[in-house]
C-alpha cells in the first residue's frame, strides 16, 4: 500500500464516519404531539416564506401552491401532520417523502424550489 493510498483511505474513512454519525442524528425523528403542543411549520418558495402554520390549530385541508413558472404542489394537512400530496414536478420526490417528520430534513421540491420544514414558534399567521 503506497502512501497516497493510505492518505486516501484515511480521508475516506474519516468522512464516512462523520457523515454516518450526522446521518443518524438527522434521521432521528422528534416525536411531536400536535394535540398537546404547538407545532410550527413554514412553507417557503423561492426564498420567500409563503405560510407559517401552527399544525395544532390547522383544520384538515388540502391546498395548492403555484410557483412563478406555473408548476404546482398540493399540500395536505391532516391530524396535525403535513405533506406534499401531489405535484406536477417530474421527479415527485416531494410526494414520495411522505409526512414531514424530521427536524433537520425538510420536504424539498427542487424543480419548484419549495421547502416545507419545522420552524420556531410565534410570528405572524
Amino acid at each position: 500500500m503506497t502512501k497516497g493510498v493510505k492518505i486516501c483511505l484515511a480521508v475516506v474513512s474519516a468522512v464516512f464516519a462523520v457523515s454516518l454519525v450526522l446521518s443518524i442524528r438527522f434521521l432521528t425523528a422528534t416525536e411531536r404531539d400536535p394535540s398537546k403542543e404547538d407545532v410550527w411549520v413554514e412553507i417557503e418558495q423561492d426564498k420567500k416564506v409563503l405560510y407559517r402554520l401552527n399544525l395544532a390549530d390547522e383544520p384538515d385541508r388540502t391546498f395548492r401552491i403555484t410557483g412563478s413558472d406555473g408548476g404546482w404542489n398540493e399540500i395536505t394537512i391532516s391530524r396535525g401532520r403535513i405533506c406534499v400530496s401531489d405535484a406536477d414536478c417530474p421527479d415527485h420526490t416531494c410526494v414520495k417523502n411522505g409526512w414531514l417528520r424530521y427536524d433537520y430534513l425538510p420536504i424539498i421540491c427542487l424543480p419548484h424550489k419549495l421547502v416545507v420544514r419545522f420552524c420556531e414558534g410565534g410570528g405572524s399567521e
Partner: protein, 166 residues
C-alpha cells in the same frame, strides 16, 4: 482515436445508458432525493482506468445528456452533470495515485465527489441552505454505493486485463 477504441467506448456508453435507464425503474430505497446505487458508474470507473481523460469525459457526458433526454427529466440534468463533472475531475487525477488493486477506493472518492457536486448545484439553484442537511446522508449512501460499483468495476477490469494478455 482508432476504430477499435471508438467501438469500445460506444459499447460502454450504450451499456451504461441501458443500466442507467433500468435502474430508474427500481423502487427508491429511501425517500431521500439523490440516493441511488448508481450502477451506471461501474462503467465510468472502469473507463477511468482504461482510457484517457478526454475519452472518459466524452463517454460520461454522452451518457448523462442522453440519459436525461431518454427519461425526459431535463431539470435533473444540471444535478447529474455537476455531479459527474466533479466526480471525473477527482477520479482522473486520483487513478494515477491509486493502483488498480484499490480501484474501489477511487470509486468511493468519486461517489463522494458526485454527491458534493449535486449538493452544490442544488444549493445554487435553491439559493438556500435547506438542502445541506441531506449532504451527510448522501455521503454515507454514496460511500456504500461507491464501494459496490467500485468492486464491480474492479472485477470487470481484472477479467479484461486477463483476456487482453491471452
Amino acid at each position: 482515436m482508432t476504430t477499435k477504441k471508438l467501438t469500445e467506448l460506444s459499447m460502454l456508453t450504450a451499456a451504461s445508458l441501458i443500466v442507467f435507464i433500468v435502474e430508474l425503474r427500481f423502487p427508491d430505497i429511501l425517500p431521500i432525493p439523490g440516493i441511488k446505487l448508481g450502477l451506471a458508474n461501474i462503467f465510468t470507473v472502469y473507463a477511468v482506468y482504461r482510457f484517457r481523460a478526454k475519452e472518459v469525459s466524452l463517454m460520461v457526458l454522452t451518457r448523462v445528456i442522453l440519459g436525461a433526454i431518454f427519461c425526459s427529466n431535463l431539470s435533473a440534468l444540471i444535478y447529474s452533470l455537476s455531479g459527474a463533472m466533479l466526480c471525473l475531475a477527482g477520479m482522473i487525477p486520483l487513478h494515477r495515485l491509486i493502483p488498480e488493486k484499490y480501484l474501489w477506493l477511487c470509486s468511493i472518492i468519486g461517489a463522494m465527489l458526485h454527491n458534493t457536486g449535486q449538493i452544490l448545484a442544488a444549493t445554487a439553484i435553491m439559493g438556500s441552505l435547506a438542502v445541506l442537511p441531506f449532504y451527510p446522508i448522501l455521503l454515507t449512501a454514496g460511500c456504500i454505493a461507491g464501494a459496490f460499483t467500485g468492486i464491480c468495476a474492479q472485477l470487470i477490469l481484472r477479467r479484461k486485463l486477463k483476456t487482453d494478455k491471452e
